[in-house]
């Protein structure tokens, strides 16, 4: 096997999926400003709609902060591991993020995301306000408002999926699609 060929295979796979940007590995708060600016710059070249750039950026922030706070993929330095992609979807863009979670956490997440996914724009707005006002018990460490924010900035219902890795862990992935207007 050749190094270049192996590497190109990864690159090609991402290109075939219309990925413009991919990061996989440990995530911390320090990563955010640089990575956020980079993605903003890249998306701004691809669209002249400033709201789209802002929505892609803000979904990226929420997704990365979710990994930093909740991922159970942790290395010795306690950094959460996640895989983030930003890519083209027709006239718009997608942001996906995946990370490992504990199985019981997966069940709670699935429940939460299923209910968010079923909400229309007005219901999301009401839920957002209720969480901000502290009228909704959020469970652990403020989970929830980030997902509601992602759903509100997405142009269509968020997609999510889980696969079981073993008795303890599942892999969780979330996709948001952002179109101009």
């Amino acid at each position: 096997m050749s190094l270049a060929r192996d590497h190109y295979r990864i690159r090609k796979l991402l290109e075939d999926e219309n990925v413009l940007f991919c990061y996989s590995g440990p995530m911390n708060e320090g990563l955010l400003p640089g990575l956020g600016q980079l993605v903003k710059q890249k998306i701004a070249v691809e669209t002249d709609h400033p709201g789209t750039v802002q929505n892609v950026f803000s979904i990226l922030v929420e997704q990365i902060q979710n990994v930093i706070r909740y991922a159970t993929d942790r290395d010795a330095s306690e950094l959460g591991h996640g895989t983030l992609t930003v890519g083209r979807d027709g006239t718009g863009f997608f942001v996906t993020c995946g990370n490992r979670v504990e199985n019981d956490q997966a069940n709670r997440l699935r429940e939460k995301l299923t209910s968010i996914r079923a909400m229309d724009r007005d219901e999301l707005k009401v839920m957002y306000r209720q969480i901000l006002k502290g009228e909704v018990p959020e469970g652990s460490k403020g989970a929830g408002v980030g997902f509601v924010d992602i759903a509100r900035r997405s142009s269509q219902p968020i997609e999510f999926d889980f696969i079981t890795i073993d008795d303890q862990y599942s892999y969780f992935a979330l996709k948001a699609i952002i179109r101009p207007n």
């Binding site: 708060e29 400003p33 709201g51 802002q54 803000s58 929420e62 901000l132 502290g134 408002v145």
Partner: protein, 127 residues
């Protein structure tokens, strides 16, 4: 109370709290590494200052380019506090400044503005 003036960074807004003049503002981006640490001291100083006011005039400018969902809780807290202050008999004006082509900030401003009944709320589109 001593005035609070903190410069903006790429991820935290400029805080300008002038307690003597009762003029307050938040300007810039807001996705701090640690929201309670960043906003905590300024917020509690503002809270005790406003709670003690019975009359007079207070003006608060929000000119945020972006805020994450954790910062949104702080914005909501500020709106609640400003509305309460207006309820104490203080003339409170809240200005929401946003770039005129920024539909997200416009929509968020309109939503947060719904929290205010006694305080005066102005949407200010910036060219």
């Amino acid at each position: 109370m001593e005035n609070i003036k903190i410069d903006a960074t790429e991820r935290t807004p400029a805080i300008d709290f002038n307690f003597a003049d009762n003029r307050f503002s938040l300007r810039g981006e807001s996705y701090p590494e640690d929201v309670p640490t960043f906003f905590g001291p300024a917020l509690s100083a503002l809270e005790s200052h406003l709670r003690a006011l019975q009359a007079g005039y207070v003006e608060f400018d929000f000119e945020l380019i972006y805020f994450n969902s954790t910062s949104a809780k702080v914005v909501m807290k500020l709106f609640d506090l400003l509305e309460k202050t207006a309820g104490q008999g203080v003339a409170v004006t809240v200005n929401w400044r946003f770039a005129e082509d920024d539909d997200n900030m416009k929509e968020l401003g309109e939503e947060f503005g719904e929290e205010l009944q006694e305080a005066t709320f102005n949407m200010c589109a910036l060219r």
